[in-house]
Symmetry: C2
Subunit: 211 residues, 2 copies
Amino acid sequence: MSDISIIGTGNMARTIGARAIAGGNTVEVMGRDQAKAADLAKALGGGATTGEWGTAPAGDIVIVALLYDGVVPVVAQYGDALAGKVIVDISNPFNSTFDGLAHREETSIAQEVAKAAPAGAGVVKAFNTVFRHVLEKGRPDIFIAGDNAQAKASVEAFVESLGLRPLDVGGLKMAHWLEGAGVVTVGLANHGMGNLDFALGITELPVRAND
Amino acid sequence: MSDISIIGTGNMARTIGARAIAGGNTVEVMGRDQAKAADLAKALGGGATTGEWGTAPAGDIVIVALLYDGVVPVVAQYGDALAGKVIVDISNPFNSTFDGLAHREETSIAQEVAKAAPAGAGVVKAFNTVFRHVLEKGRPDIFIAGDNAQAKASVEAFVESLGLRPLDVGGLKMAHWLEGAGVVTVGLANHGMGNLDFALGITELPVRAND
């Protein structure tokens, strides 16, 4: 069981919040619009609470569920209120044609979050390769990356509480390539798959082996 | 049934050659060392032949199975001998720490191959996310990218002849992110999975859905 705070009141906040509660975690919702946060907390049920925007979150794990260009500014705004927290970046900084990233350099939102976060916060990239409705209804694999082993272990335990499999791909530098895996996922949706009813994941050798 | 030429005589050449023959395709092997090429062709059986290095390949699909830094120079060396061919780049240009690509810019070996290839050749990225022994023994998904629809369709038909699922991720620009998916695959092997007995692939919603 983990104590989760979610910054954001949109679709991903709702979906992760619902799964978190179903998995036996406590959930706090923080929104710029306090009424929206209260509405979401009420909709989530399960004892979900609201916290005041910009103040120290109640949860040990803080999931920033905002559009990618809002993530770093909001982490900077929270500042020391995030000291000691595990900060989870789930964003996809797609370019305008959805075949690359918006960054001009080889970085990631998660790496930029780490620069903006207070010392002692652990930053983890996770959940970004999963379409929202697959996270709502399915059991997608959850890729994670981070430099802080303890933070990563916390997120792994949380992911497992959702009945999902966490898959550690390495250090925070790998967040760049997880964002790239998000690009691949959208490419598949637009080309080979032609739909959104799938997730990028791991197929173990025995699963489809026939020889 | 496709006519395949493989440039290279290493492990990936042998593995792809063996699966190609098992799938009912014809295979030609081209090696700098003609004796090595002849040895591999003999080992493959199934009527596999050898071609002379640098001359026009017999196959319509030419798979360049070389270490990444050899791919572009060899395509340039072949030059017009590759006119009208489908050129398949399977390489992984990892950096020395295996957590990124060796390119200094946002490109891919496949995109550089397209610059070096004769006009009319169709370049496709494929097979790079798959560990050799998984390709040998399992049924991994095969991600592909390319700008030439006809070339991509040829490669898809070839992949299907191997009993594998081709997954189109989009244009050749996406080869950069497939190379990144190769980085993620190695990251998983070194961290979350701790072994090489898996492939990055697609898990459809129903496969693991439980709610």
